[in-house]
Symmetry: C3
Subunit: 139 residues, 3 copies
């Protein structure tokens, strides 16, 4: 991973063999990033993504172990218990150009990931919501 910081924006390259969630969390800790929007594209060869069924309170999860283009990676960095908290969703396309995706657990980069992180000058936390069972934005 390598990056540059221009005003409120980080331009980041995540490299082959690196995992996005852990790499970005480490960057946010190191740089003191507590509120940001994330936009990225790239290519992965392993991904774990899921869907949370709020009605059934069941988390569906699927592991992909094939090469896929990451056509969109979007989400937020906020703060939970004093640490950076990532919430990212991915769309990925396989060799037939069909698209898959979901809530990101793991994204392993095969070629590169090009990420734009825009920092916002404040903090947003998370609180557990009893109805959905999820950690929601807490202003």
């Amino acid at each position: 991973m390598e990056y540059r910081h221009f005003n409120d924006t980080y331009v980041i390259r995540i490299d082959r063999g690196e995992e996005v969630m852990s790499t970005l969390t480490a960057l946010c800790e190191q740089e003191g990033i507590r509120l940001a929007s994330v936009a990225a594209i790239g290519a992965v060869d392993r991904a774990v993504v899921g869907l949370y069924d709020v009605g059934e309170k069941v988390y569906h999860k699927k592991e992909f172990t094939e090469p896929m283009e990451l056509t969109s990676l979007m989400g937020t960095v906020t703060e939970k218990d004093g640490k950076p908290y990532l919430h990212l969703h991915a769309t990925m396309c396989d060799a037939n150009m069909q698209a898959h995706g979901g809530h990101v657990n793991e994204l392993h980069i095969s070629a590169t990931c090009e990420m734009i992180l825009r920092i916002l000058p404040s903090r947003v936390g998370r609180r557990m919501d009893e109805v959905t069972g999820l950690n929601l934005f807490s202003f």
Copy 2:
């Protein structure tokens, strides 16, 4: 729905049971937002999205009534007839992690929607284009 405003950017949480188009339109009216870019993720349990076939002048439309992760919601707020005009496209993934989407008519939030709205300091309108039959950006 709840939000905070930091400089040119709104960080917005849309809640379970709320519909995105009507909620965001109301926010834009209340806050006087007339030009903005939209980026969001979330989860829905009902969505109506479509595809407009310009050649055939037919609008294909589909309603989804299952839990899906909203992996990307992108688009613009502009102005038409003095009111905020939303144009949003969604990509959503089902419990098999397959992706679907289109032009957004309705998006009903099941868990949460985390939206970043970046305001631009100007106005862009809409004009009806006879060839495509669509309201296009009018500068």
Copy 3:
């Protein structure tokens, strides 16, 4: 194509019959844009997208010739050999609202494309990486 420039941001309309890669490259050359993030939605009636298999060093490619909504177009403008270099990934949905996509070779606009280009005040180049065989960000 028509656009307005507000501070660090271009709001762009690409029109029916125009191809995105060539149109955006021309705009970047004309305006001297060397580092930017791209976010767009729109509608296409022809697209060539691909997946690069880093392990096999094979580029899979597919041409779509049907009307599709462009639900996300994301990526970067950087610089290579003194010229603007685009790297864009697309997600597109067909008349059944199924999603497809990949690395963008060509995107032919059928209705409109609404693009937000945010300029960053610096330069990022490209270098050929021997392991992946790709032109990666060079800071």
